[in-house]
Amino acid sequence: MAKYNLTVNGKKYNVDADADTPLLWVIRDHVGLKGTKFGCGMALCGACTVHLDGQPIRSCSTPISTLKAANKITTIEGISVNTDSAVQKAWIEEQVPQCGYCQSGQIMSAVALLKEKSNPTDSDIDEAMSGNICRCGTYPRIRKAIHRAAELMKDGGNSTGK
């Protein structure tokens, strides 16, 4: 066990964990934020996607010991608690989620994509989102919602609504 300093959604945490503990379980069970989900444990499904200094990473395969105290971690709860970000608005407009379990990860990937490319093409979407599995099959709506979010951002918002 060792102590780690973390910054999650702008808040500092000091957690006691084994060096190999994946960030996913630190976020869920030590920090107590349950929006980030466990799906595969092998970085294959994307349900655990969070941002590390703005870049999407798979938290299930990121040992806590690889993080630095200066790293800024953003989870779904850090995107916006009021669901007013462009991506979340678009997700609601298009009624994307079915079971909803993968959607935190989908949204984290989509937010990162839109930061890189404010007007992504379908193939940009395919490339950025193909690491996120949706077993319910919401893919057509995810695609629509990303295009819609891009439009909303043009109208003044940004991908995170901040």
Binding site: K37, G41, V81, Y139
Partner: protein, 721 residues
């Protein structure tokens, strides 16, 4: 709108006045009682199951079918709200907890809306009538001068109004109307209108509570090592290395109790999930495979092929004319066999359960498809009274049938009892993929005979495979066919006008755990049924659509679905060079779905250009959700057709995680278009019926494009032989 009931909410709810009545099932006499839970002496009088209104105006509607993504969290409360004259933003929705007063609470068989369409509306309408009567009494005016709207009763002439909260006490003293008047479809304000789903905001900001998110003070985590082969016995185990992992508290022998058998296992219980998993990996277990290391899916399918050569048990109700005679004398005979693999459900939220056994009482937090079915299983397992089992039903992160099989909940119950603490069991993805239960592998042996004009004079569908009823429910199936296996190919679901018809079932027993999987046998039986219709059309040198329409002349809803499909997909227009279209239609769970799949050549394989779907599910609750479910069925049907099946060799499942058990990803998603047939028919199911016709439509398209007839799933879409 909150998903989980906090203790504060629970106490508050218990002080509310509750009115209404319980409706055990459609067509049965309804027992009607008024109640007042505010006095202890009122206990024992039947509680209103579905509607709670308190005097400061709060309205709670109960959803009696757990939501796995299919939308019952909205659809059932919406049926009540329509008749009660409230909007969803005026109410709080709660899931029921399995108590008998709520009636059947299993989400399965695409049954929720079609079985609860009338009972839920009647519940809302009866309460509305009582509130109107209560208002008319207070005003001393005739009820005909009063009407209800958005949670209030209005007096038309004066414009005065009362909120439902102001009326609830008076209303609770009234007799409950036995036959409340239901609204005409034309007056619906909510049903059929694509009202946004109330829980969606919570599913985009991380606040929706799934089973895996349960967090009980003092809770321990468990990871369980189960037999790597299909079943096995723990000869010995060494947990000393596991105990050295920091945070590990216990290593205990346990079991996985399935309906048909219990299999031994060893659990590591720790302060954190990660410690439990690390401890599990450090276990040393000596297994006796008990011969299960001989089990393979190859041998299983070999057995199906052997069985297919002999007679099965006939479905007597399916018999039309004399098949043997007509087939014998047919001008042209066609025979083909189709095979569909074992499949894992792979819900993205793995199986998990948090259980706290305290003496003879137990509380459960788990993603499950039916709390009412869980209670007796847990009670029996722990030898406690069913009324001592409390179940909390959160959202499920997908289920597809898997979470109606409660082995993972019993595991947590077993461990909680052993260590006397709340225990959360979380399955890994590998556990989920390798352990089953799986959709059973099935074979359809088809025979068809045509006369000189190309009419089908003989049709035989022999279904060979294992029986869920037999393994899971112990139905002996003595000289009886499995009546689930013929769904979607029976005369009602596949009403082709074959001059003679025969169907039979051949039971192949297996030790591989099996279970229903989205659309149950319809997903396997429809493959043979609808591909073979196409084979017969080609043998008759007739266009497959015209061939079907000709044989469905007496089935107007089917004809309309196919004609709509033809129109929406421009079926009769010439396609660009190198493209072809294939169709299939199937009815399951009371709903007809047809798909048209357009494919093009793509190197050695094919590319799906477009999928156009038409669904006739009768009257609708939320058309947008019907489209969403059909899109989801296309994705799952396509995954089942072209991605991995589950294969077992030497008793070991050969796939373990999403790198070997691949599922469709967004970059592989074809364009889709879903059309809903508008009619006033009784509602059918929605969560499953889009799946069965997908693989046949795709394979029929591939035949039309390439001349290759695919008869075994899954296949490699990038390399068509």
């Amino acid at each position: 709108m909150t998903q989980q009931n906090s203790r504060r909410d629970f106490i508050k709810a218990s002080t509310m006045l509750a009115i209404g009545f319980s409706l055990p099932s459609i067509g049965k006499a309804e027992s009607l009682h008024k109640i007042d839970t505010s006095s202890a002496s009122a206990l024992g009088i039947e509680l209103n199951p579905y509607i709670l209104i308190n005097d400061d105006g709060k309205i709670i509607l109960f959803n009696a079918r757990p939501d796995m993504g299919q939308g019952t969290y909205q659809s059932l409360p919406l049926l009540i709200a329509e008749e009660l004259e409230v909007t969803l933003d005026q109410v709080e929705i709660r899931n029921t907890d399995g108590q008998g007063k709520y009636g059947a609470q299993l989400s399965g068989g695409s049954s929720s809306v079609r079985t609860r369409w009338l009972p839920m509306r009647k519940a809302g309408a009866a309460v509305k009538e009582m509130l109107i009567t209560a208002a008319s009494k207070k005003w001393q005016v005739p009820t005909t001068e009063c009407y209800a709207e958005t949670g209030k009763v209005f007096h038309k002439p004066s414009g005065k109004s009362y909120t439902y909260g102001e009326l609830v006490e008076e209303a609770s003293k009234l007799e409950i109307p036995k036959e409340p008047k239901l609204k005409d479809q034309k007056d619906f304000k909510l049903l059929g209108k694509s009202v946004p789903r109330p829980e969606i905001p919570s599913k985009v900001n991380g606040t929706a509570v799934f089973g895996i998110d349960s967090d009980i003070p003092g809770m321990l985590y468990a990871s369980i090592e189960r037999s790597p082969t299909i079943h096995g016995k723990v000869v010995s185990f060494d947990g000393s290395a596991a105990m050295k992992v920091k945070g590990v508290k216990y290593v205990v022998k346990t079991e996985r109790k399935m309906p048909h058998k219990a299999v031994e296992a060893v659990a590591v219980i720790a302060d954190t999930y990660w410690a439990a998993l690390k401890g599990r990996k450090a276990l040393k277990i000596n297994w006796d495979a008990q011969g299960s290391d001989k089990i393979s899916t190859d041998a299983y399918f070999e057995n199906l092929r052997t069985l297919a050569k002999t007679e099965g048990v006939e479905y007597k109700n399916e018999k039309v004319g004399d098949f043997n005679k007509r087939f014998e004398s047919a001008t042209k005979k066609v025979e083909a066999q189709y095979e569909t693999p074992f499949l894992a459900h792979a819900p993205l939220e793995p199986e998990n359960a948090t259980v706290w056994v305290q003496g003879d009482k137990v509380e459960i937090w788990a993603p499950i498809q039916g709390p009412d079915g869980l209670i007796p299983q847990v009670a029996q397992y722990l030898k406690i009274k069913p009324e001592n089992v409390k179940v909390n039903v959160p959202f499920m992160g997908g289920a597809f049938g898997r979470k109606a099989y409660f082995d993972y909940v019993l595991e947590a119950a077993n461990l909680s009892k052993q260590v006397n603490a709340p225990v959360k069991v979380i399955w890994t993805r590998e556990d989920d993929t390798t352990q089953g239960p799986f959709r059973p592998g099935m074979l359809s042996a088809m025979q068809g005979g045509l006369d000189e004009k190309g009419n089908v004079v003989a049709h035989n569908h022999k279904i060979v495979g294992s029986s869920i009823q037999h393994q899971v429910f112990g139905n002996p199936l003595k000289n009886a066919p499995d009546d689930w296996a013929i769904e979607t190919a029976n005369k009602e679901d596949s009403p082709y006008d074959f001059a003679s018809r025969k169907a039979s079932f051949h039971l192949a027993e297996t030790e591989i755990p099996i279970l229903w999987w989205r659309s149950v046998y319809s997903s396997t039986t429809a493959f043979g049924q609808e591909c073979f219709v196409d084979e017969l059309a080609h043998a008759a040198k007739t266009d497959p659509l015209a061939f079907r329409l000709d044989m469905l002349a007496d089935a107007p809803r089917f004809s309309r679905v196919l004609q709509t499909l033809a129109k929406k997909t421009n079926y009769h227009q010439k396609l660009p060079e190198g493209q072809a279209i294939g169709i299939a239609v199937a009815r399951s769970f009371g709903t007809i779905v047809a798909h048209a799949v357009t494919v093009s050549k793509n190197g050695k394989g094919v590319k799906i250009e477009k999928v156009v779907s038409v669904i006739d599910c009768g009257m609708t609750v939320n058309p947008d959700n019907i489209k969403a479910q059909t899109e989801g069925n296309i994705v799952m049907g396509l995954t089942a057709a072209i991605k991995n099946g589950i294969t077992i060799k030497d008793g070991l499942t050969e796939q373990s995680n999403f790198h070997q058990y691949n599922v469709l990803r967004i970059n592989e998603m074809p364009k889709t278009e879903v059309h809903i047939v508008d009619n006033q028919e009784a509602p059918g199911g929605v969560g499953e019926p889009g799946l069965p016709p997908f693989a046949p439509a795709l394979c029929n398209a591939i035949y039309n494009l390439t001349g290759t007839r695919i008869r075994t799933l899954p296949f490699d879409i990038d390399n068509i032989g």
